[in-house]
């Protein structure tokens, strides 16, 4: 049988190889009868004309391996890959699973070498800013070991999408103009800029982050082989760093401990621990500066009421109205709460009203801002502020309005139906009831009235509890 010569294009000719494989498999030509050559001017040496043949169904793992290995610089790559395909098509469907097979092992090493070169290209390309352009433009010169330019380029698009950049290599060039990726012919080193104003600073960083007491050039070279050095500006520092390392360490060891040149800054040290906010105003300033920890919100809505109120009411989060006005409980639910308080004999001006979450979390739907329930994690983001707030108000009784408030106060999720009534929140006496917005959401009037009465009952008990002397535990409650 004659030897069939297949010629493919220089570089990673995946298309040509795929076409050839289809034809070879269709013709049932075993690897020992096929020879692969690489040339940019095919057809000169009486090559085989590869006819169109139907696709070959090969396992995914094998085609992925082919995509990588065609990038390898070894001229034997196509022959090895064809042997692999042949065996897979002839009874060894799961050949890739036998990693110990000499052919699989060899192809795997080649694939690894390609992946490594890709990874190193992503790592070691150094862009330099091009002069003479009004808008920023960057260019880099790089010399890959394999034919990986096209495989490597998408990474740079994903990362530097808003930048105009070009990567020049001896095997081709890639240009991204902020909109489109285009590949061009091979270029020369001289085509790239030969300096960049940040390189000296970068070299300074590289020198300073090196620890001379741990010098280990072998480990460095294993990960950053010398062949890459000439295109990396920082590597110029390497010989000097290695040469002086031992001396620098010796000096550090020999040098005797010195006395501190400055005296101990006693006052600054003492003042450093005095960082806690001491008033609600200070705390609120911190919250305002931090900004929302949930999506949405135009401003933080702080607690409101006398600074040492006996009762603190904790709601879920500000709503649309609260967010616009910057005050808690001024929307529909707030109005209902105020009314119920009045009926239960609690003066709104005498209690402190606040929310577990200090910002309005919402989703925009058209012109409407729809309330979005804060997640457990989000409630907990706000918890340290709430705890500090309570510490500053020091109330006799804390009322949790709804499940979010309970979560914020206790640190764990508890259903309201089961825990409604008296409770303890850390060092504080507490009371759990529903959030007034729950009353607004009920569908029919009868249930609404019933729920409102129950809510009123809770508020009356809260009123009585606050009257009682909680500190001695003596409760003089009319209701109990």
């Amino acid at each position: 049988m004659t030897l069939h010569r297949i010629t493919l294009k220089t570089g990673a000719d995946l298309h040509g190889f795929r076409k050839a494989v289809r034809w070879l498999i269709a013709e049932e030509l075993a690897p020992q009868h096929v020879m692969f050559a690489v040339d940019d001017a095919p057809g000169l040496f009486g090559d085989e004309t590869v006819a169109i043949a139907p696709p070959v169904a090969i396992p995914k793992g094998v085609s992925r391996l082919i995509e990588q290995v065609v990038c390898h610089s070894d001229p034997e790559r196509y022959a090895l890959l064809y042997s692999l395909v042949w065996r897979v098509q002839n009874g060894e469907r799961e050949l890739l699973e036998v990693a110990s097979d000499p052919l699989v092992h060899r192809i795997d090493l080649m694939a690894r070498s390609v992946r490594r070169d890709l990874h190193k290209m992503h790592a070691f390309v150094r862009f330099r800013r091009m002069g003479g352009h009004e808008l920023e433009r960057f260019a880099a010169w790089f010399e890959p070991e394999h034919f990986i330019l096209e495989a490597a380029a998408p990474f740079f698009v994903d990362r530097f999408r808003s930048m105009d950049w070009t990567i020049l290599t001896p095997i081709g060039s890639a240009r991204w103009d902020r909109h489109e990726l285009a590949f061009g012919p091979p270029r020369r080193r001289e085509d790239a800029p030969d300096e960049d104003s940040f390189e000296e600073g970068w070299r300074g960083y590289y020198e300073s982050i090196f620890n001379p007491a741990r010098v280990n050039p072998t480990a460095m070279r294993a990960e950053m082989p010398k062949k890459y050095w000439r295109n990396m500006p920082e590597t110029a520092a390497i010989p000097g760093l290695i040469q002086t390392a031992a001396q620098r360490v010796e000096r550090m060891i020999e040098q005797e401990a010195t006395m501190p040149a400055k005296r101990t800054p006693e006052r600054a040290i003492e003042a450093m621990w005095d960082q806690e906010p001491k008033t609600l105003e200070e705390l609120n300033a911190i919250i305002a500066k931090a900004g929302p920890l949930v999506p949405g919100a135009t401003q933080a809505v702080f607690g409101e009421g006398p600074h040492h109120a006996e009762i603190v009411f904790v709601g879920e989060q500000p709503g649309d109205q609260e967010d616009l006005q910057g005050r808690p409980f001024v929307g529909p639910a707030g109005k209902l709460l105020t009314q119920a308080m009045r009926e239960a004999g609690i003066e709104r001006e005498q209690v402190y009203l606040t929310n577990a979450v200090k910002h309005f979390k919402f989703e925009q739907r058209g012109h409407r801002r729809i309330h979005a329930k804060p997640t457990t994690g989000e409630v907990k983001h706000y918890r340290p502020w709430l705890m500090k707030e309570l510490e500053l108000v020091r109330p006799k009784l804390i009322v949790a309005l709804g499940a979010t408030a309970v979560l914020a106060l206790s640190g764990k999720a508890t259903p309201i139906t089961r825990s409604r009534g008296r409770a303890t929140f850390g060092p504080y006496q507490g009371y759990i009831t529903v959030h007034p917005s729950y009353l607004l959401r009920l569908p029919d009037e009868a249930t609404k009235r019933e729920a409102y009465e129950a809510f009123l009952g809770d508020l009356r008990r809260i009123h009585d509890l606050a009257q009682a002397d909680l500190e001695t535990g003596e409760l003089r409650l009319a209701a109990e």
Binding site: V125, R161, I209, Q255, G377
Partner: protein, 404 residues
């Protein structure tokens, strides 16, 4: 780049180099916006290696090396006479963006000495991250060092902007902390770790961003008397309680202008290396701390052989192991076989019977594995019980530069 900024960068990089971590791994894959900058790739990228063999992935700097704390092991302690500098928030942002655009780095790892107060310092660090994300649409990697003495709400904020948070425990015992780091307190460090771990877990379940690459920590090795077994016990606790992504071990290394109360000698690099190996055995090879501790002498790991080999030599009755039959768990305990090699063995043997040359293609540690392994054409027989087995398996130490 402006000369003054260059000078500061040298000082504040020099001050940051004793932090072993530089990893940019674990963040969810992100791409840059049409107007933004940056991406993350999951495993992280090392953009250069310094002659100490360490990877340069992130711009690892301190915001300032002025510090009110006086930790004896630290180059930046207030009583040290090193040169001091302070970056402005905008300077750090500029450096990060400009270095990133040139493909020098994966992102920023920002730490700081404590100035004014822990809260003030932490706020400045958060501000850097916030500006990068908000003003520059920066999607690269951000690792923020958390200051455990800062108020708890700052941790809540930091995690929203950072990919990774970390607090360095530095010393494994309360006693050492008291002696060498008078301003630090083990309990408050662990409280902060617990807070971060809880929030990281919740955010993961809720598919929100809060330090998605988890938290890490570091312990210094060789500055105090703690044994390897106790260091590893501490690590096991940290992994267990706070779901640490990694515990870094940093061999205590001579520093310029060091404190009089600490040992001045070359860093125990081999010890550090053995601790890392033991750490991997804990996390990926199914060993528990007591097993590793039991094969250590007086709590110290054998410096001549790796901890898996040390364990195997003391537990020879569990070997030899048949590569064609043994359970995965037992194969993982064979010296010289890594987890990846074991996985390949388990798959390959479904189709073929493995011989010694086959195993040689799957691992580079065959020399160490051979006495503990049975293959289709190899049985170690009595060799396993020979007394000189350990000596024969010791890796020849590389020529030390001292004798050159």
């Amino acid at each position: 780049m402006d000369e003054k900024l260059s000078k500061k960068l040298r000082i504040l990089a020099d001050a940051a180099k004793y932090d072993a971590s530089c990893s940019s791994s674990g963040a969810p894959k992100r791409k840059s916006d049409p107007d933004g900058l940056g991406s993350t790739v999951g495993t992280g990228i090392c953009h250069a290696y310094t002659p100490d063999g360490r990877c340069v992935s992130l711009l690892k700097i301190l915001l300032t090396n002025y510090c009110l704390f006086d930790c004896a092991y630290c180059v930046n302690r207030r009583s040290s006479n090193v040169k001091r500098a302070k970056f402005s928030v905008d300077e750090v942002v500029t450096l990060t963006v400009e270095f990133y655009k040139r493909n020098y780095i994966e992102g920023l790892f920002l730490s700081s000495g404590i100035i004014r107060s822990p809260d003030y310092t932490m706020e400045q660090m958060i501000l850097v991250a916030k500006k990068l994300r908000r003003d520059h649409g920066f999607r690269g990697y951000i690792h923020l060092k958390t200051i455990p003495e800062a108020s708890p709400w700052l941790i809540e904020e930091a995690g929203l902007w950072a990919d990774r948070l970390s607090i360095n425990l530095e010393l494994p015992t309360e006693k050492s902390l008291e002696q060498l780091a008078p301003e630090k307190d083990g309990a408050s460090i662990e409280t902060a770790m617990a807070q971060m771990s809880e929030r990281i877990e919740e955010a993961r379940e809720e598919r929100r961003h809060f330090s998605p690459a988890g938290q890490t920590t570091q312990m210094i090795v060789g500055a105090d008397e703690t044994t390897d077994a106790d260091v590893l016990r501490k690590s096991a606790t940290l992994y267990g309680h706070y779901a640490m992504k990694r515990v870094y071990y940093s061999a205590f290394s001579p520093i310029p202008d060091s404190s009089a109360i600490l040992p001045l000698k070359s860093p125990p690099l081999m010890r550090e290396n053995r601790l890392y190996q033991a750490d991997w055995l804990l996390r990926y090879y199914g060993f528990d701390v007591d097993e590793i501790a039991s094969s250590a002498e007086k709590g110290m790991l054998d410096l001549d052989v790796d901890p898996k080999l040390a364990w195997a030599l003391k537990n020879r009755h569990r070997f030899p192991v048949d590569v064609n039959r043994a359970e995965r768990e037992m194969l993982l305990r064979v010296p010289g076989l890594g987890a990846r090699a074991v996985d390949k063995i388990v798959v390959a043997r479904k189709h073929t019977t493995l011989r010694l040359e086959d195993v040689a293609r799957l691992t580079s540690g065959l020399k160490r594995a051979k006495p503990f392994l049975i293959t289709a054409d190899h049985h170690p027989k009595a060799r396993l019980d020979k007394l000189d087995l350990r000596e024969r398996l010791i890796e020849k130490p590389e020529q030390l530069s001292l004798f050159v």
